[in-house]
Subunit: 402 residues, 4 copies
Amino acid sequence: MAQPQASAGADTGKPPLRVGMVGYAFMGAAHSQGWRTAGRVFDLPLSPQLAVICGRNADAVQAAADRHGWAATETEWRALVERDDVDLVDICTPGDSHAEIALAALAAGKHVLCEKPLANTVAEAEEMARAAEEAAGRGQVAMVGFNYRRVPATALARRMVAEGRIGTLRHVRVSYLQDWLVDPQFPLTWRLRREQAGSGSLGDLGAHIVDLAQHVAGEHLAGVSALTETFVKERPLPTAPSSGLAAVSAAGTGQVTVDDAAVFTARFASGAVATFEATRYATGRKNALRLELNGDRGSLAFDLERLNELEYHDGTEPGTHSGFRRILVTEPDHPYLEAWWPPGHGLGYEHTFVHQARDLVHAVADGRTPEPSFADGLQVQRVLAAVEESAQKNSVYTPIAA
Amino acid sequence: MAQPQASAGADTGKPPLRVGMVGYAFMGAAHSQGWRTAGRVFDLPLSPQLAVICGRNADAVQAAADRHGWAATETEWRALVERDDVDLVDICTPGDSHAEIALAALAAGKHVLCEKPLANTVAEAEEMARAAEEAAGRGQVAMVGFNYRRVPATALARRMVAEGRIGTLRHVRVSYLQDWLVDPQFPLTWRLRREQAGSGSLGDLGAHIVDLAQHVAGEHLAGVSALTETFVKERPLPTAPSSGLAAVSAAGTGQVTVDDAAVFTARFASGAVATFEATRYATGRKNALRLELNGDRGSLAFDLERLNELEYHDGTEPGTHSGFRRILVTEPDHPYLEAWWPPGHGLGYEHTFVHQARDLVHAVADGRTPEPSFADGLQVQRVLAAVEESAQKNSVYTPIAA
Amino acid sequence: MAQPQASAGADTGKPPLRVGMVGYAFMGAAHSQGWRTAGRVFDLPLSPQLAVICGRNADAVQAAADRHGWAATETEWRALVERDDVDLVDICTPGDSHAEIALAALAAGKHVLCEKPLANTVAEAEEMARAAEEAAGRGQVAMVGFNYRRVPATALARRMVAEGRIGTLRHVRVSYLQDWLVDPQFPLTWRLRREQAGSGSLGDLGAHIVDLAQHVAGEHLAGVSALTETFVKERPLPTAPSSGLAAVSAAGTGQVTVDDAAVFTARFASGAVATFEATRYATGRKNALRLELNGDRGSLAFDLERLNELEYHDGTEPGTHSGFRRILVTEPDHPYLEAWWPPGHGLGYEHTFVHQARDLVHAVADGRTPEPSFADGLQVQRVLAAVEESAQKNSVYTPIAA
Amino acid sequence: MAQPQASAGADTGKPPLRVGMVGYAFMGAAHSQGWRTAGRVFDLPLSPQLAVICGRNADAVQAAADRHGWAATETEWRALVERDDVDLVDICTPGDSHAEIALAALAAGKHVLCEKPLANTVAEAEEMARAAEEAAGRGQVAMVGFNYRRVPATALARRMVAEGRIGTLRHVRVSYLQDWLVDPQFPLTWRLRREQAGSGSLGDLGAHIVDLAQHVAGEHLAGVSALTETFVKERPLPTAPSSGLAAVSAAGTGQVTVDDAAVFTARFASGAVATFEATRYATGRKNALRLELNGDRGSLAFDLERLNELEYHDGTEPGTHSGFRRILVTEPDHPYLEAWWPPGHGLGYEHTFVHQARDLVHAVADGRTPEPSFADGLQVQRVLAAVEESAQKNSVYTPIAA
């Protein structure tokens, strides 16, 4: 008798969406979890298939395929992109290869999901956005992986802003605080080299908060005034290829060529005033992406370390009984919650990837441009470029190119 | 070309552990997620297979199988129990059928995972514990599903108590607060009928906190003094079979035959003094399982609504710099965290079922009695029986039968 | 030229209320602050005068008078009670002398403020309540010092309950957690001796929470089921007279004759179910008086360690945007806040004594019985007696004598 | 018989320190509370006397004197400054009169306490600092009223930084959020007019956070890059003289000539990177002065809305048990706490003025320059000037003049 199998989609009678994923480190594991789970929780029009996983080391990629449940492997991303049995290419590599892979995948007629930041330069991002727009004409979809839009609490925040619940926006304060570089002996992984990562905390953490703040606010930044810093300028070289996060100490040392921290003030298009901070040196803050918006009718506050909660202050209530309330974003009418657990039974970090997969599958089935699109990714890239330009020009206020 | 499939285990070369699950409502969905994910995240000795799912309604069970990824279906649990291609029977039905199914499964040579509470009566639980002990002699394992032991924060709390970090235990205060019965129009589902559910908040929520408090404290309760209450004594009948949690209003009404709330004081074996509260009437508290332990060297506090956190007070520190610290239980050396995400990237409710599956697979592979065993489940049942007895006897202090 | 003086009342043209205070330890300092400040912040009909302070040790009482600003001293409370220039006797001594002093003061025609608990026995409290009632006929007022009613947040909570904002009461959970007895070397002060303190954590902390819970709930307890414990049964004798809180180690040891902790479940008159806990062994909890009330329309929660805040859940709001809100109880329309600082500029512990003085002055001027009256104090005493009786009778449910 | 009086100092045998206060609105009330209480709680070398209070309206100032307990009144500050029975002049007026009064008081040989900001311009502040330095040679002391240095939690934070507990400073993030200008109908009080207030949120809130951040960090800012905004440019004129905070609507409207909000990034002398935000438009934030410092060995965080707490993360602990701990800053060995209540019995806003009075009295008695000195106030003024300059120059990074 045949082995019963927990296959994803084969047994549902739904058309498959065959995914080919490039890269299998931290993001690869998270995306695998997303693809594997989305069709099991949500009622999707297509059934995601974990078809092919790609990495340069044959043994390592096979181990990743076994662990995460991918049916086949490749060691060359170009081979994966050309496979007939791949409908969507999911790019989980460092930023320096995003453009090349994405352009090839779009050219090969594939749908694309590309991890953030979209690219390491504005020029690359522009080319990618153009290619995505053309591919859209051929029915292909392309999405950039700003997964924090898919935390139910941030999605609820966006909805509440759009409903007018906080009124005219006055202030946004947003920070993304981590602390994994505090130790000067942490090695010089690819995330600390400009040629691979493009930038440091700015492209890694800053990209997230720029996208999320604009997404929740429902408007774009107009300009920034920035200051960046590299606190520890030399670090030990890693002894082995690493995932970017793992600490492997080694003999020699090398130059850190990216920012350790980036802070900037900004104006939104509406005139709201903002502060941003991205750092890997905030001792004790592990993953503190914090976002607060103050409008003339109310305020919203979020902290990724408590991702099932959204704080809301309704400024139209009498002061006697008003206050910031902790909304436990686990009710059935909250975003993405229709399919999960009863109220109060919280979700975790990886659910953002399940929700991302859900939304992307719907976009593919509907043939419409998903959010965030490559154009959205490009716009974030332009903000990051303005931040770097301002930092280089003595913090002078630098408008964002339209 | 064959469909690539996200199969669980078939591709790993590991021996399979073929699961047959009875029931497919709330717990069924949660257990499915656990079985599907455990082998993808943790390095397990056996590969869990979602082999057979069983429910009385053929269409509904097929839909559940498709949704959750089970390979086959049955409509009679006795048929499932007898299947050769099932190694482990996972019982997710209401409490009144636990004993019958578990006894049959053990008799059929299967391993068993049984949802909590173990049974609706002490007599049933005793029989189940006896059967499990005999089956253990034949290499079978039996576990009861107190999943909250597998929240990393509670597992860490237990470890810290065992390490002596809080010293001699003085106080335990524990409550499990929900609010889904506040509306008197919520219908009379099976969870509100004694014949099916055994008891109300006591067996549902109380069982969890009795087990968790004893587990973390590392000792048993000696006696209790209890008070129970049914605030709303009559409720509308549901129009359709429900999962116990869903609200479906209807024409007629029926008697609520279980407790709405149970509160009790208790003594632990060591002399520590405790308060317990289980209720479904705590407006605004959605899933507030709170546990605090005070010892003469320190204290620990946990709240399931913030399940990635454990509060710890080290009483041996100088008062000048001491205070309850919020441990974000997401570090690689925290329980279960070796396989998940970087620090600060939290987990959710369903991960308890992934961890439960992980631990059970190891127990099966090692041929050792898992925790919590059926004997543990029986002991909790005895506490619940003492609570009911005390409540009936004017709250008189009632020792727990050994 | 005469010395300018920060006198209380002499310069305001208002009739004075001349206070004579017995006792000058912790409570004496707090009451002094209350009397000194009330007329400076609130617009009072009478001007409180710190007239006479009394203590057995002449030097110590003179030092206290100088420190706290009392105009005269006495070393015999009977002398103070008889003075013509004292209008109100403020009793800040241990519980064993409350009855005698209060009865004498009432007999001497004085108004009385008596620290809680009203007395060490129900019999004493009954006599005091009778005397207060008779004195009321002569225009005298008598108040018991349950100062936590005068935290703005608890006063607001009471008002909100009375306004129907939480609907029918279902649950009350209240605890008062301190940790100053965790160290077994803490000496045997008067607070640990039954003959002086009457009881331990029960009369000290338990009295507060029984009064506060009933006050906020707006109803009385009907019965209790209790359990008390003395964890450390022998302690070093103090070397010097102490204030009850100060730790002074010594050579010999003595028997602790009061409870270290008291826990009890209870029913309110309306049928609401409650848990109470009072302890001095909750390591790391310094002054955690926590009160939560759940009704069928809403909930309220308070923690004395964050006394400027009240948490409120409005259960009538749609779940989508509801949650426990943190009301910062510092708005001008909050209780007692009309006279203090702008919103967000919080108050502290001692302000409860300022508010107590304010309310008592008004009651004296209006000639009406203040709250909490001696009758209220007696009723709390009856609850404490029922707690002790239940604890002695194997926790059996014990109705509160009416 | 003489009226007993709660006089401050006359009865203690200590030499008096006779205070003359100019201004009697919000700050006047707070300072009165400070002077009245300091000698009653702390053991001071001099006894503060509330000697003379000054205001332009004779009736109003007499009412204030009666309310707050000042012995005499003046309607001309010059008269007060010249009085022989005044030792110390306490300046609680709007910023535009600080320089004139302070210079006159110093010239008249008085000690001076001047509310913050020290002045409305750097030039004035320089003159004041010079005068203070000269006066110091004559044994006079001059202090500027940055009262938030005297919150026990911020004082503890400074001590911990100085002890090296957070190591090398990397990040400071600080904000002072209020919301009393959100309503566009709030009238144009003196606080919204440049000629009186000097600046808006910058001088009011920004001055506080610049001083506090530097004080706690133990180092000065090197430069800033700033952005300011006036959201509501026209407001109704008030109908009556107001305290600056009270809302009194009126017929006509006038121009708001100060900033509503100021945000800036900054570098500290050591290279640490900072963000600052001061605003009166943060709906729902009443008095949220928040300060966080991250160093390479630890972090500290403070929020004025919870002023009895300091959060501390010890980065040298093993990650397994580390986390931000909530220090309840109420222990006897915490700053200023030796004289207050038992642990957990918190203080409030006004206690900062009691502590300020305490420290100033000691400085007067010891004949040493108090902190913060006028030189400190001048340095803050230079930071504010650099902020304004940067905001006018397109946010360009602007060094702080030394």
